[in-house]
């Protein structure tokens, strides 16, 4: 029997709006397998998102879904979670949504260590608006607003999250569909703020302009350039150059925000 994704999908909403070969469909399937694998009750499950291609995801999932304004996914998620801490809140968005316009909410959610799972779909570009460079677009890459190649430096989203205080930080790619599913599960189970950065191909906005191969080629690229964290730590700086580590990159025990608050003000 093939996997029954339909259980968590809203009837009649598929096909989704994503372009042919967009990596986001792969992520959506991993998310569904993760929440299904954890046996999560759809009534207690909340997805929030901002604006962008990635942020269209919640519309397809049969849960409590909140498609907010650009960058503000985590702000809304914080309100929902504080009002009803018993809900499982997954906040997601693109690299632009979460780390450009939404960067402040991202670092503060990390700092607070509020028990929200944050999924950053990193396709190295502003997909929805037609391919402008984002804070993660590689140096020298072409985007509609970097006709001479990108001059800007890049965020390492995972390092940013760690620097800001997140207590669980992981990275995966659409090539690693099954490990990604496991990381998402771990992130959801982690008590505190958890970040999973997921590298995904955007053939329309990024691939075309950067003479990257087909959608499949972008997936192969992810495979070729990602290195498991365990192995990464053994590599020299030269060996690491141009590659990125995947897996759980950081995990620590730290007081969760609402628990700490409730204990402090006498609510628990």
């Amino acid at each position: 029997m093939a996997y029954d994704y339909a259980k968590y999908l809203r009837a009649g909403k598929i096909p989704h709006i994503w372009c042919p070969g967009c990596g986001y469909g792969i992520i959506m399937k991993s998310i569904i397998r993760a929440v299904d694998g954890l046996g999560m009750n759809k009534d207690d499950l909340v997805f929030t998102s901002g604006i962008g291609c990635a942020s269209r995801l919640p519309g397809y999932i049969d849960a409590n879904t909140l498609h907010t304004t650009h960058g503000r996914s985590l702000g809304f998620a914080t309100g929902v979670k504080m009002a009803k801490p018993e809900l499982n809140v997954i906040a997601l968005g693109g690299d632009g949504d979460m780390t450009a316009i939404g960067g402040n909410h991202f670092i503060h959610a990390c700092r607070r260590n509020i028990d929200i799972t944050c999924l950053v779909f990193n396709n190295y570009i502003y997909g929805m608006t037609g391919g402008q460079y984002s804070p993660t677009t590689p140096k020298a890459a072409r985007a509609t607003t970097s006709p001479y190649g990108n001059s800007d430096n890049q965020f390492d989203i995972a390092q940013l999250a760690i620097g800001a205080g997140a207590s669980f930080v992981a990275r995966s790619t659409t090539y690693h569909a099954v490990p990604m599913e496991k990381l998402i599960k771990q992130a959801i189970e982690h008590k505190g703020f958890s970040v999973v950065e997921i590298i995904a191909g955007c053939p329309t906005g990024y691939g075309r302009k950067n003479k990257l191969a087909s959608p499949a080629g972008m997936i192969e690229w992810q495979k070729a350039n990602s290195v498991n964290k365990v192995q990464w730590d053994k590599m020299t700086a030269e060996e690491q150059a141009g590659k990125f580590p995947i897996g759980v990159l950081h995990q620590e025990e730290k007081p969760e925000f609402i628990e700490a608050y409730d204990a402090n003000v006498g609510l628990s």
Binding site: A2, Y3, P15, C19, I26, Y175, S214, P215, I219
Partner: protein, 64 residues
Amino acid sequence: MAKAEKIEIYVNLCKGCEICVELCPVDALEMKDFKAAVKDLDKCIACMQCELRCPDFAIEVYKQ
């Protein structure tokens, strides 16, 4: 080696991205009229790569 009993491709969902075709390790799939199609079911080793990575819920592999 595992085998597939059936590979279901939903052409109404398939967007023709060729991911399944290009990532199939044994070349069991092909493109036909801009959609994915089974080229040779016998070749299939039921590795599930195609199903896992199809972004559009368009391909399902049933193991034997």
